[in-house]
Symmetry: C2
Subunit: 519 residues, 2 copies
């Protein structure tokens, strides 16, 4: 890179983010998120871990084929089989990258049973192999922060000599502080021969709440690639949040004179989509993308002394794509208006898809006077979540609940055959879920159940998310409806459809990422 | 303070946290949270802003009276009336503190129409006045980070000379970076006469995701008081999270050789209570206290290569009070067992309170086989939320919903008189809320509606939170039940009761905090 102030954004929502328990995404969802990331200007998209499962391989391959401007990257452990499989998937991209890694800290060397010299050999060999397949090779020293400093210099030098073009220094356990994060990058730049020829990347986790500061401290010390996810999605406390590092560099350009290629006005839309698809709601006071992030105590807006918005606002809602008013449509809006509005929101669709959405839009508009952007997003997300996997379909539901007990009467199609059941339960949701189980017996356990109103007002649609587990597989189902109970049943059935698809694709344990897969 | 490694924890959950839109707490909730903070070892509790409203004054006074070990602090603007009112409230504490502030940055000087010299005079005068009332006086330079550095030195020197014992340097807009945060503290310690005689405090906001790192950087530079809130509660993106700074200093004692007085095993319990009371759910991947914070991808636990938990865990769940198993009780558990379990969870109650809770516990145990800690917390929170404000009471509910439409039949007591209504609606929740409105007409608007299952399993209790607004007043209502719809109605009615209490206490705008109240 010639421009020393340019910081590359490497998004790993689809790899490290999707790896968090319960955040599993479908093939189509991954493709859609990848397309949005590409359009937003993400430099490198880590699309998955091709050897982990057939599903991961297909997702990375299809994302590579569909890519426009972004580099498409796949993850591989330090062996030929992983690297070859990764190349088979990413090679379809205009700009492919192989990302290979090994744990270099004492406890990780213990796991792989390699001594320091044996590990050096392994790194030289595997990076060289990757480089023979692909010009763009990234190598990561897993748990770099807890690796002996001298040895870290040695492994980095080895990877550079073997042909790595990007060297990533991950804080795998979310353990570092800004000063330490900066010192390590500065040390590597100073001591390692060839360090000025490659790009250093920083990959932080938020276990102590400092991922953003740690990533930016690494950049200040000379790193030029930040690895991050939308909403900070990721295992445990998550990864560095893309929206935080990008906006921090924008707001504090005085102290951080760097540029990214990100169109920040697309941040809010991506945040909403990733939240829906992963089933991870964003908390009200999440930095940048939380509902309250731009909301001041109501007194302020009524306060005559507020002479200047800059007194309290360091960025504008529009900077991240929050528009002033988001009343979108009403019952008289036509197909063309719907198509155009959906395009604004980032949904491009074929004619037959639009037909389906239009029918659902009209049904919603009959029940709800004002249709907001959020309603359309929920509608789209609901339709994406619950089509294509229609082995189980909800046909009809009637529920009685309240002080005198709860009962659900349900009709469902199971592989096209109508079945029905009536069940009592502890609460209307329990009664419904028991009726589903009476029709389609399952051992799956409900782990998380949550409901969020899409907009304000008592007639709002509610989005229901459920997270279910069976044999170590975790899936999320979601659905939106003005009837919370109906949405609950659709979300539950959607999750069962997904579990079924996953159990057909893979043996029970085949898609579990083992401990040595974490960055 | 003689021990240079001791960092004071100043909790402002009840002042800056409670100030966030929608997080309003009742008097009893504030007292309860204050007691828990005191027991956890918080050094200073900022209990409220006594002049803001009669309710704030009473809350600070009662918290002061009940205080054991913590210093109790109240906020006051830079005028005698505020300061006198603050003293009237905090003086009941064993260790009272007056905290007075003024905005020192150019835009804030513009708001108060004071030039630099006039502001110096005002600071000297008001701090001196406070010091004549109270030995422990904290002074804050609001928007310190955006104040000219020379002028910041002048105002700090003035406040010290006038008798301030703690000087707070707030990043009011959440704008700073760790390096800048440290530089300002270091500069003040170096340049301001008398700076070594007082305590510097750091007060950060998380707008760019760096509040934790900024607070710790200030400590590294010499600050010895961190201002923070539980769960990072606060306006916009919130304040520094207490749990993050405390655990970061504990985990990285090698780089941050400081001590606090916090009993970290009480963190998780406080986090849950603050989340319930404020109606702000904690996101899954929130650092330290999120549901996923200690949850690894399930593969890991089954993975033979995991030789050592420290490979991926930098802290243990038990460190913050998450116990291994939390199966609490069943239907055969007696009163003594319930009382003892509730005491473990931080609830002390009188005999008559226990009677009420025991009846509700038995009713729940009849419906739900295993009662977890979370169930008891929900039960307690539900009972705290919905007693005392019983102008409106739900007597009986029957709801029909599903594919063919929704209808709610409701009986309520309004000031002891039974009334009933039957309404159709768009969804069961809408039908119920319309029935409530038919019985008790209100202009209040539903702003937020959310449901979260308390534990796993389809028969779990659900906690419903609603946030409502009327004439600029925002209140939260919450309720728990295995019947989601019944819980929704109880939460809605609870919020209406609170709105009624608030509108009796205050004129429509009297309790709105104006722009100049923010730190």
């Amino acid at each position: 890179m010639t421009d020393k102030s340019r910081v590359l954004i490497f998004d790993t929502t689809l790899r490290d983010g999707e790896q968090s328990p319960g955040a599993t995404m479908t093939h189509d969802e991954k493709l859609e998120i990848a397309q949005l990331l590409d359009e937003m200007g993400v430099d490198i998209i880590e699309a998955g871990f091709p050897i982990a499962s057939e599903g991961d391989f297909e997702a990375v391959s299809d994302i590579a084929r569909a890519s426009k401007n972004s580099v498409i990257c796949g993850l591989a452990r330090a062996n030929y089989k992983d690297i070859d499989r990764c190349w088979e998937a990413v090679k379809h991209a205009r700009q492919p990258r192989i990302h290979t890694f090994i744990g270099t800290s004492p406890s990780h060397r213990g796991i792989t049973n390699l001594d320091q010299d044996q590990m050096i050999e392994r790194i030289a060999d595997t990076v060289n192999h990757a480089r023979n397949l692909c010009e763009d090779v990234q190598w990561s020293a897993m748990d770099a922060i807890r690796t002996e400093r001298d040895y870290l210099c040695r492994v980095v030098e080895t990877a550079i000599k073997a042909g790595a073009t990007t060297i990533n220094i991950p804080d795998t356990v979310g353990y570092t502080l800004p000063q330490e994060s900066a010192e390590i990058i500065a040390m590597l730049l100073e001591k390692v021969p060839g360090a000025d020829e490659i790009i250093f990347a920083t990959h932080c986790h938020n276990d102590l709440g400092m991922a953003t500061a740690n990533a930016l401290a690494a950049v200040a010390a000379g790193a030029r690639q930040i690895e991050c996810t939308i909403n900070g999605l990721g295992e445990r406390a998550g990864n560095t949040a893309l929206e935080e590092v990008v906006m921090a560099m924008k707001v504090r350009r005085d102290l951080m004179p760097y540029q990214t290629g990100i169109d920040t006005t697309k941040i809010m839309n991506l945040s909403r989509r990733v939240s829906q698809v992963s089933g991870f709601p964003v908390q009200f006071n999440k930095a940048i993308v939380g509902k309250n992030a731009f909301l001041h105590e109501s007194g302020i807006h009524q306060d005559g002394v507020l002479k200047n918005v800059e007194t309290f606002e360091i960025m504008k809602p529009a900077d991240i794509g929050i528009t002033e008013t988001n009343i979108a449509m009403g019952k008289h809006s036509g197909r063309a208006a719907l198509r155009s509005k959906l395009q604004d929101l980032g949904f491009d669709m074929a004619e037959n898809q639009l037909n389906d959405v239009f029918v659902r839009f009209k049904a919603l508009a009959d029940r709800k006077k004002e249709i907001y952007d959020e309603d359309l997003i929920a509608l789209m997300s609901d339709s994406a979540a619950n089509t294509g996997n229609d082995y189980l379909q909800v046909k009809w539901l009637r529920v009685v609940c309240g002080s005198d007990g709860q009962e659900a009467e349900l009709k469902m199609l199971v592989d096209g055959v109508e079945k029905s059941a009536t069940c009592a339960g502890d609460g209307p949701v329990d009664a419904c879920f028991k009726a589903v189980k009476a029709i389609y017996p399952t051992q799956a356990k409900l782990k998380v159940y949550q409901v969020q109103a899409v907009t304000q007002g008592t007639d709002a649609q509610a989005t229901v998310s459920v997270r279910m587990e069976e044999d170590g597989r975790i899936v999320t189902g979601s659905a939106a409806d003005t009837d919370t109970i109906l949405a609950s049943v659709k979300a539950y059935v959607g999750a069962l459809n997904r579990l079924r698809v996953r159990s057909q694709k893979t043996a029970p344990d085949a898609d579990l990422k083992s401990v040595s897969y974490k960055l």
